[in-house]
Every structure is written in structure tokens, then in C-alpha cells.
Amino acid sequence: MCYFRTFDPIVPMTYFLCVMSICVFTANPYLQACALLGGVVLLLCIKKAKALKLLALSLAVIAVMGATNPLFVHRGLTDLFYIGKDPYTLEALLYGLSLGCSIASLLIWFSVFNAIVTQDDILAVFGKRLPKTALVISMILGFIPKLRRKYTELLHAQYASGASRRKSLHRSAVLFIACLAYEAERVMDISMSMKARGYGLKDRTHAQRRRFRKSDAAAIAFSLALCIVCFVFIGKGRLDYWYYPRLSPNGFDPFGVGSYLLLCISPLFFIVKEKTLWRYCPAKT
């Protein structure tokens, strides 16, 4: 996924926000299909075989939601069969599947998001406007692995000096407090190091390793434009869809669904482009 690296981190972040803001809230099966399709294709492109586990999980979520929803909800006019006195309806089944799709596409898109947007990207985006907040985030990110390592060290030291190996909440609590005490002690040194390097002077800046370019602006504009089109159609009610009492006959607006589909699969363009470029790249040989 090198191509996302060529953009300013705010580009992928905006993109994911646009995609997810629609797929979370919609019950429209056409939009859900677009989101699912785009997400699955992207996930497979990025994680290859490693994506299969998540895809299996997503399928399971859809199946379970679909199968169980009609057990609790008996609305809908098309009865498939009866369980006891309660009808098991087609509409409830489809509604369950749709809910499942929402959750599945959310899982998949988050996984893609995690693979592409790193901690440092988030930091770079915030750092520009809020240098102090960025510093705090960066310090916390540096602090967590230190704390984790200390915990393991303390645990090993405890094992080997005769303490019990049995896991207990009490032991974890004691060790965790000891870790915190240890780190609190060390924080003094850190603050010294910060002061020694001029921390506290006003007008702190934040170094950016990458500059915002025109192509970044264009990419953001593209995502936002498609997203806004979708929202306009949703606002007009052209993309409304309902399941009860009977499945809605409308909800498929070619323009609205088309623009969301385009939004969801737009990264494919870059993936294909990257593959092609690399294929004919002189550096390869």
C-alpha cells in the first residue's frame, strides 16, 4: 500500500471518514453492497491471505445476525415458516442480514484503516495545529512500550525470587503499581531532559516530514465531493429504504448509489496504477 504513503496523511483519514460515515448509518442494501464490495477488495489487496480470517468472521456476523433477527422480530408480511406460534418472516431475515452487513463492513473498513493510517499519521495531522497535544500523544506512545517492558521484567524478577507463579488480580495490581512508581521516578529525569532542551519556551513548533501538495488537496476534494453527493441524495430521501411491512420497491437511485460505489472503489485506481507502474519500472530489474 505504498500509494497512500505518497499522500499527506490527512488524505486517507478524510477518505475513511467519508466512506464510514455513510456505511455506518445506512440501511440501504445497495449502499451496503457497495461498501462491502469496496472494503473486501481493498482488504484483500492490502492484507492478501491474512484477510481471510477477518472475512470469515464478517461472514459469520452476517449469518448470525440474519438468522437470529427473525427469532425476535416478527414483523413483515411474507411468512416463511412458523416457530411455535411465531412467524419467521422474509423481511426480518433480510433486515438481519442488512444489519450484519453494516457491522461487517465497519469491521472490514476499520481493519483497512488500521493497516494504512499509522499512529504517526494521526500525530502528523494533529501536530500541525496542536503541537503540544501532538507532543503529549507522542510521549504516551513512547511510554506504553516502556511500561509494558518494565511489567515483564518485574514479573520475571518476582518469579525467580521465589514468588508464586499463579496469576492473580492482586499480583497484577501490585506489579502495576510498582511499574507506575518506577516510571514516576523516571519521569523526573524525562522532565529534566525536556527542560535541558528548552522545553517551556513559548511558540513551540512541530516538524513535519512532508508538505501538503496540490495532489493532496485534489484527492481530498474528490472524496468530499462524492460524499456530499451521497448525503444530498440521502437528504432528499432518494436513498431511503425500508423492510417492514414489505420490502421497499425504491431506494435505488443510480446517481447516488453510483457515486458511493465510485467512492468505495476509488483506491483501486491507485492500486492498479501502482502495480502497473511497478511492472514497467526500470528499478525492478
Binding site: Q119, D120, P131, L135, S138, M139, L141, G142, P145, K146, R149, E153, L154, H156, A157, Q158, Y159, A160, S161, G162, A163, S164, R165, V174, L175, A178, A181, Y182, E185, R186, D189, I190, M192, S193, M194, K195, A196, R197, G198, Y199, G200, L201, K202, D203, R204, T205, H206, A207, Q208, R209
Partner: protein, 546 residues
């Protein structure tokens, strides 16, 4: 004009009844390298921190500190930041952010430099010091030496005139130490940066330092050149430990040198090569092995590489075995494997003839073996040393208590202190008491001599010797070759996941060409078999001259 001068410095910590510094005066000319020596607790760190007012400890200070002819208090934060930079002992506690790139930019960001300037200067510096390979890494992924190099660069990026370092190499292995000092040497010789450095093991600093300040009980003695320091230190048993082996070896001949090369030449010219190799007077009785490892494999994750790779090891009863090797080669992992904290995925480890897996529950760590982690503070999680020892006694159902052991190790006066308030040497002794309370027959020590001053090292070494005489087996992992040469009975090089060339200590150091002590390098052509500075000194004093 002096770049820095102190006159009649007196300092007392808040709440303390004693002065930590008493009438300290010295001055530093531009581009000088000043070495500050002194035992733990002698006030080295206090002195260094006082020189930079932003990090000065809380207390009452009298006397004057002048920087570039101006009183320290007149300097603004901006000026001060651009004049003096500081690097301290523990690389883990100096890094503020989570990435090397942001760490290097931190200082310039504080000064409010704009983006282009920050990137330009950081890039220039990273290239100058050759740390491009770690530039994009997370701090957490770095080795200790790399972390320390990163904090040094982060301090230097602001182009300070004076660089202060407080035991910068205390936590590093020999290779990390050499890299760090070669960077310092370049800074001094190519940029003319003034360097003030406090060190316990000043071997590498001696080569390029101009001036030595010795702190003792808060008082400073200033030596204008290193030769006069060496002459004075030779008479003083407390300072003697600071003289590097190469200097010490030819001191008896009335010469003062600071490199192995010069010492070697002088000795080769002065003495005829001796036929008889220096040998141990009382070879140890061969006992049967109490620790045996056969074909041990270990890795941290399924896809990772084997950190222990077909490891074989035999250690006999009452032996002190030292596994030497550079940092990050897996010595700690090996110790943790041998003492049962990690389980190998293949192979067998037996302790006292019994498979380590067949020790049930805690029986292995009670009356059998004990493990001292690299950071002995890890053993103490209670508020005071006493509470910790009481807890151990309770766990062991010990009736006789800890008092006699504490007395034996001379730590009784430390019992009511918080473990974090103890010095490196003190916590080492308390940790030893805690471990001995479990009545172990075998002790595993990870880098026991790390961050200790020469005297504390000696005390530790004697302690280990006496424990081994009581029949206890000691296995230690260390990168301190001098320490291993002095106190271990046998040594092995840990490399590529296994112990290579395991032999008696003398054989080990005499055979190795690179991985050996300075004394052995100097002496091997003339006095074969000599491996410690003391032995070399004795050999020189009693040798036949040409």
C-alpha cells in the same frame, strides 16, 4: 577567557544536614575535555546539574558559576539551551517522544524553529553522525547504545558550546561505548565543542581528555593534565581503580602512556619474552556439573529466529561461570532460559541432575536457584527494603530472619530506606541479601557489575568469590571483560545462540585476540597468560629486563 568557571561552590540539598559540595572551584577553557571522577555519591551528578540552571537540584547554593564570563543566572532559557546541553546516564529516561525523528527535532521545536530549518539541521546531523539507519525507527526498537547515541544527537542538534555528560556509558556494552566516545571525540576535535564528562570507567575518555577533576566527599581536586592525575592517583588506593590498565602497566617503569599500542611497545622493548606462561596457582577441583543444558532452542515467536540455537553448557559446583558477549546477543535470554523463567521449545536443561521441568511449583526458586535481573531495583516492589526482605522471609517460612545476612553484607543501615533512594552498589548488596534469603545453591546474575564504580565492583567481586567458596555456583552474564577476568573461574563467549569456546578464564582470555582484556593484549607477547591489570603490574615489577 574561560568558557565556564565555578568558584567556591557550596551546595546543600533541601532537607539534608550535610553539604554535598564544599568549596568546589574549577575552570574550563573553550574546546577542552574535562573528566570528572568520583565514587558514587561523591556529588558528580549534583555538580554537573548545578552547571545548568534549568536542571539544577533543589537546595541552597552559594558561590558563583560563570558561563562565558556572565553569571549563570543572567542567561535566558534560550541562551542557556544554546550554550549548554546535557546527556545523562539512563538512555531510557532521556527520550521524550516515541520516534527518533521526532526526538531529534524536539529541541529545535522547543526553540520555535520553522519546519525547513528543523528538517535541514536534523538531517545534517543525522548524516554527520551516521545514524540514518535508525532515523525512522521507534525509540523502543533501539538498543541501549543506539538510544544513547540518539539522545546525544538530540542534545547536540541545538549546536551547544558546552556538552555535559553524566556517566553516558554506564548502561552500554563495550561496542556501544566505543561508538559513543568516538562521536564525542569527533565533536571535540572537529567542532571544538567543550565537553564535561563524568565517568566510572574512564578508559576511553583518557585518550582525549585535557583535564581531570576529582570529587571526594564534596571537595574537588583539579588536575590540569592527565599525567599529573596519574601520578597522584598511583599513590592513592581510592583513585587507583580509575587508572586504565594500559597506563598502570608501565607506570612502574616511570612512563605514562594512554593507549594499548604504546604500552605494548614499551613492554616489548623493556622485557625479554618469558617462556613460562603465567598460570593459576591452585587449579580448582573438578566437580561434577550441577547445571547442564543440552541442545536447547528458544525463540520469542513462532516466526522469529532462535535466540538460543543448539545451546550446550556445563557448569560445575562451586564455579563462577561468566558468559560474555555484546549487548543484544541474547545473554539475558540465555540466563532466563537456564533458570527456568523461559521454557525452551526443544532441548533439556537439568539442575542438580534433575530436569528443570520436574521442579513443581516454586520448588525451583526455593533453596535451589535464584536470579538477579539486570536492574536489581526490579526485585524490590515494596516501600522499604525491610518490608521486601520480610516478605521474602515469610514466603520462605524462615525463622532466623534476615538480620544476620544484612549484617554480613553491611546493609543494616539501609533497611528503612526506599529502594529507589539507594545507589547502584547499595541496591546490588540488598538484592543479594534478598536472593540469599531463599537459600539458593546456584545464583544467576545478569550484568552484576553494570553502573558500579571501581570500588563497588571490587566489593561485589569479593562477595561472589566468598559465595563460591561456600560451595555456591554462580553463573553471570556480563560484557565487562575486566570483571570477568578478575573474578570468574571459567568463561564462554555467547554468540549465534550458543556458548562458544568455553574454557577456564585464563585460557579463554589468553586465547582470544579481540575479545579480551587490555592487560592481556599488552602482555601476551612478553608475559603469556597474564590477564588482569594487577597481574600485569606484578609481572612488570618482577620481570627480567633486557
Amino acid at each position: 577567557m574561560e568558557i565556564l568557571s565555578c568558584k567556591d561552590l557550596n551546595f546543600r540539598y533541601n532537607g539534608s544536614s550535610d553539604d554535598t559540595l564544599r568549596g568546589v572551584s574549577f575552570s574550563v577553557s573553550p574546546s577542552q575535555t574535562v573528566l570528572v571522577l568520583g565514587q558514587t555519591g561523591s556529588g558528580k551528578s549534583t555538580l554537573l546539574r548545578l552547571l545548568k540552571k534549568e536542571i539544577a537540584p533543589a537546595g541552597t547554593l552559594s558561590g558563583e558559576i560563570k558561563i562565558n564570563g556572565r553569571d549563570q543566572s543572567e542567561l535566558s532559557l534560550l541562551e542557556s539551551t544554546q550554550t549548554i546541553a546535557c546527556v545523562t546516564q539512563n538512555p531510557d529516561t532521556q527520550t521524550v517522544t516515541h520516534k527518533v525523528s521526532s526526538e531529534l527535532a524536539f529541541g529545535l521545536e522547543s526553540l520555535g524553529a520553522d519546519n525547513a530549518e528543523i528538517l535541514g539541521r536534523v538531517g545534517e546531523m543525522a548524516a554527520y553522525f551516521g545514524i540514518e539507519d535508525i532515523y525512522s525507527k521507534q525509540i523502543d526498537e533501539l538498543s541501549g547504545g543506539q538510544k544513547q547515541l540518539c539522545s546525544l544527537c538530540a542534545a547536540v542538534v541545538q549546536a551547544p558550546e558546552i556538552l555535559m555528560l553524566d556517566e553516558p556509558a554506564a548502561q552500554l556494552d563495550p561496542i556501544g561505548t566505543s561508538k559513543l566516545f568516538s562521536v564525542l571525540k569527533r565533536l571535540n576535535s572537529e567542532l571544538g565543542t567543550t565537553i564535561i564528562i563524568a565517568e566510572h570507567d574512564p578508559r576511553e575518555v583518557f585518550e582525549f581528555c585535557d583535564k581531570v577533576v576529582v570529587l571526594k566527599d564534596g571537595k574537588a581536586t583539579c588536575f590540569e593534565d592527565k599525567q599529573s592525575f596519574v601520578r597522584a592517583a598511583a599513590q592513592d588506593p581510592q583513585l587507583c581503580g580509575y587508572i586504565p590498565a594500559c597506563t598502570k602497566s608501565v607506570l612502574g617503569l616511570g612512563k605514562t602512556v594512554f593507549t594499548v599500542r604504546d604500552a605494548k611497545n614499551i613492554i616489548e622493548q623493556t622485557f625479554a619474552p618469558q617462556q613460562k606462561a603465567y598460570a593459576d596457582t591452585t587449579p580448582k577441583q573438578k566437580e561434577k556439573p550441577v547445571l547442564q543444558a543440552r541442545n536447547v532452542y528458544f525463540r520469542y515467536s513462532k516466526a522469529g529466529r532462535d535466540v538460543a540455537d543448539c545451546l550446550d553448557l556445563d557448569v560445575r559446583k562451586g564455579e563462577i561461570f561468566a558468559a560474555v558477549g555484546s549487548n543484544g546477543c541474547g545473554k539475558t535470554t540465555m540466563l532466563k532460559l537456564l533458570c527456568g523463567i523461559f521454557r525452551p521449545w526443544q532441548g533439556k536443561i537439568s539442575i542438580f541432575g534433575k530436569n528443570i521441568r520436574s521442579y513443581k511449583g516454586n520448588s525451583l526458586y526455593r533453596e535451589n536457584i535464584a536470579y538477579m535481573p539486570q536492574d536489581p531495583y526490579d526485585l524490590f516492589i515494596s516501600q522499604t527494603v525491610r518490608q521486601e526482605l520480610e516478605k521474602t522471609c515469610k514466603a520462605m517460612d524462615a525463622k532466623d530472619g534476615y538480620e544476620s545476612l544484612c549484617e554480613q553484607f553491611g546493609v543494616t543501615h539501609l533497611l528503612d530506606m526506599h529502594p529507589f533512594d539507594l545507589s547502584g552498589g547499595e541496591i546490588q548488596k540488598c538484592a543479594m541479601v534478598k536472593l540469599l534469603l531463599t537459600r539458593p545453591e546456584m545464583l544467576f546474575l545478569d550484568e552484576p557489575s553494570k553502573a558500579l564504580d571501581p570500588q563497588a565492583k571490587k566489593i561485589l567481586g569479593e562477595m561472589l568469590k566468598s559465595l563460591s567458596q561456600q560451595g555456591k555456583t554462580i553463573i553471570l552474564a556480563t560484557h565487562d571483560l575486566e570483571f570477568a577476568a578478575q573474578y570468574a573461574d571459567s568463561c564462554g563467549l555467547f554468540f549465534d545462540g550458543k556458548i562458544l569456546s568455553s574454557a577456564s578464564t585464563r585460557e579463554f582470555f589468553s586465547k582470544n585476540r579481540f575479545y579480551t582484556t587490555d592487560a592481556s593484549r599488552i602482555a601476551r607477547s612478553v608475559f603469556p597468560g597474564v590477564m588482569t591489570a594487577d597481574e600485569l603490574e606484578a609481572a612488570v615489577n618482577g620481570g627480567d629486563k633486557r
